[in-house]
């Protein structure tokens, strides 16, 4: 694994973040956020390494609140008060916050797992657009998703994981449902095999 030319495979999580890596896990509550902690504290959770939130070991509360405000504004996070507990947000709004908090760190690489799972349509649209904008701005965005429509919409290239092995990436324009189906079923895309499977 190489980030911006630097080998990162053996580095710690915090060191990778310092190099510009960001990650949105599948599980919002308990993994992506500490459910009973405030949003500002959850901003600190991933921002403590390299986002100006910590000075000489002390927390800059203004900076963490600032992140919450910016995420709220930019990604339309609906909440009851300025800095509520993470658990009190709805799934879609919490996901917008989580994705937003990572994007606001200007990552070089963003890995997102199931970005819109269990999220309402409006929030899902916001999130997908945010990912697209980030990619356009030059970051590398890796999305893991079970939603083929979503991937077709936002991805430039698609690869399929089968039994722990990743296929070669296909350009989205060439990734037809049939081809994806074959890969998901485990066959390779040798022309003869593919033609046979598709019934040609």
């Amino acid at each position: 694994m190489v980030i911006e030319g630097i080998a990162a495979g053996h580095l710690s999580i915090t060191q990778r973040r310092k190099l510009g890596a960001a990650f949105v896990p599948e599980e919002r509550l308990g993994h992506g956020t500490a459910p009973r902690m405030k949003l500002s504290e959850n901003a600190l959770l991933t921002g403590h390494a390299a986002s100006g939130m910590v000075h000489h070991g002390f927390i800059d509360t203004a900076a963490t609140l600032n992140t919450v405000d910016r995420a709220t504004e930019t990604f339309d996070v609906r909440k009851a008060k300025r800095d509520p507990e993470a658990a009190s947000l709805s799934g879609g709004n919490l996901q917008k916050f989580i994705v937003g908090r990572e994007i606001l760190r200007n990552p070089a690489v963003l890995v997102v797992s199931q970005p819109t799972w269990g999220v309402d349509a409006g929030a899902a649209a916001v999130i997908r657009q945010a990912l697209l904008d980030l990619a356009t701005a030059g970051a590398a965005v890796l999305v893991t998703s079970q939603d083929l429509d979503e991937l077709a919409e936002i991805a430039d290239r698609i690869a399929v994981m089968f039994h722990g092995r990743l296929s070669a990436p296909l350009a989205t324009s060439e990734a037809s449902r049939e081809k994806l189906g074959l890969l998901m079923g485990g066959s390779s895309l040798e022309p003869k095999e593919a033609a046979h499977a598709v019934g040609a």
Partner: protein
């Protein structure tokens, strides 16, 4: 029809404020019943326990003196518990600190040692307590052994070690065969704050510890790490925090504070090392930590309150022949009520009817 518990969407701020008061109220109610069963006048007993000690300057000092080790140890424990590291061996760390610091006192006894003695005792005691606490911490981190059990077993080991020392090598030769060291030299004694009184420097140290902990937990990234690692371990790992390192750190700090409390107790109010130097401070501090809700200010208040009950218990025994065990019962019951009321901060009750109708219950 059933009463069920369900999780609240958000912590209840009102209950968080009111819960300790409700708990204290319920405890006092229970104690009134207990006093009645014991055949003692409840009002007089309550007065002896809670009011009488506050009316006398001397007993106010005693409360502060008694609260000092409780608060110091409990602060250290709160750091561990916040990080989900269960240090039950504070009593042992207290004793080992007392032993280590006393070693300097005993070695320099009778010689014309300088003012370096006391600071050296304090530092050595803290270091010894920290090292002793690292044993269960390392056993947990490296081997996965339960820190609850290992730290607890070490309490007995420390107690026996102390017993051996004061009955054997360190026994005062002029002490009429009592199992105790000779009185510490003045240079090895914790200075008093008030001439002729009981208040000593240890109380100031305890207050500084409270302040330091408050700053650590609320304002520093390390404090944040400690809190997250206990509250949401997977999120902590996601945030890049190292749970093992935090277990080691909190145990070491907790052991240091317990050890420091130990030598201060020995070199302060008591003046020499003897068996039974601790009337279970290490375990009572666990109650103080929970009563204080693992919060530095709360611990300070809880420590003072519990010290009040100790002094009150002694006075009640003298004045009304109420057994000292009642104090333990009171503390146990108080902790139960506090824990129960605190549960309502995170959960609420609901009445559930079989035909699926739902009514709000208490909360």
């Amino acid at each position: 029809m059933q009463l069920v518990l369900e999780k609240r969407a958000e912590r209840s701020g009102t209950i968080a404020l009111v819960s300790p008061l409700i708990a204290i109220g319920l405890t006092i109610l229970t104690m009134v019943i207990l006093f009645a069963i014991l055949g003692k006048n409840p009002l007089l007993a309550l007065h002896a326990y809670f009011i009488a000690p506050l009316t006398d300057g001397y007993s106010l000092q005693e409360i502060a003196v008694k609260a000092t080790p409780l608060v110091m140890i409990a602060i250290g424990l709160s750091l561990c518990y916040l990080a989900n590291a269960w240090n039950i061996g504070a009593e042992g760390q207290f004793l080992i600190g007392a032993v280590a610091g006393s070693w300097i006192a005993v070695r320099t006894q009778g010689t014309d040692a300088g003012a370096w003695v006391l600071p050296a005792m304090l530092v050595l005691a803290a270091a010894a307590g920290a090292l002793y606490a690292l044993i269960p911490a390392i056993c947990k981190v490296k081997f996965g052994a339960s820190e609850i059990l290992t730290s607890l077993m070490l309490v007995y080991v420390a107690d026996l070690f102390l017993d051996y020392l004061v009955r054997g090598p360190w026994r005062d030769p002029h002490g009429f065969n009592f199992p105790t060291t000779a009185e510490f030299d003045p240079v090895a004694t914790v200075p008093l704050l008030i001439e002729g009184g009981r208040l000593h420097l240890g109380s100031i140290i305890a207050l500084l510890v409270v302040a330091a902990a408050a700053i650590l937990l609320a304002r520093t990234i390390k404090g944040f790490e400690i809190r997250v690692v206990g509250a949401a371990p997977r999120a902590a790992r996601f945030g890049g925090f190292n749970a093992n390192q935090l277990v080691i750190l909190t145990f070491a700090v907790s052991g240091a504070l317990a050890g420091l409390a130990g030598i201060i107790e020995v070199a302060g109010p008591v003046g020499h090392l003897q068996p039974g130097i601790s009337p279970g401070y290490g375990f009572t501090a666990i109650i103080v930590a929970f009563l204080g809700r693992l919060n530095p200010l709360g611990i300070l208040i809880a420590g003072l309150f519990l010290a009040l009950t100790f002094i009150g218990g002694e006075q009640a025994q003298i004045a009304m022949k109420i057994p000292l065990d009642v104090t333990k019962v009171f503390q146990g019951i108080l902790l139960f009520y506090v824990l129960a009321c605190d549960s309502l901060i995170l959960y609420r009750f609901k009445l559930v009817f079989p035909n699926r109708q739902v009514t709000r219950g208490a909360g």
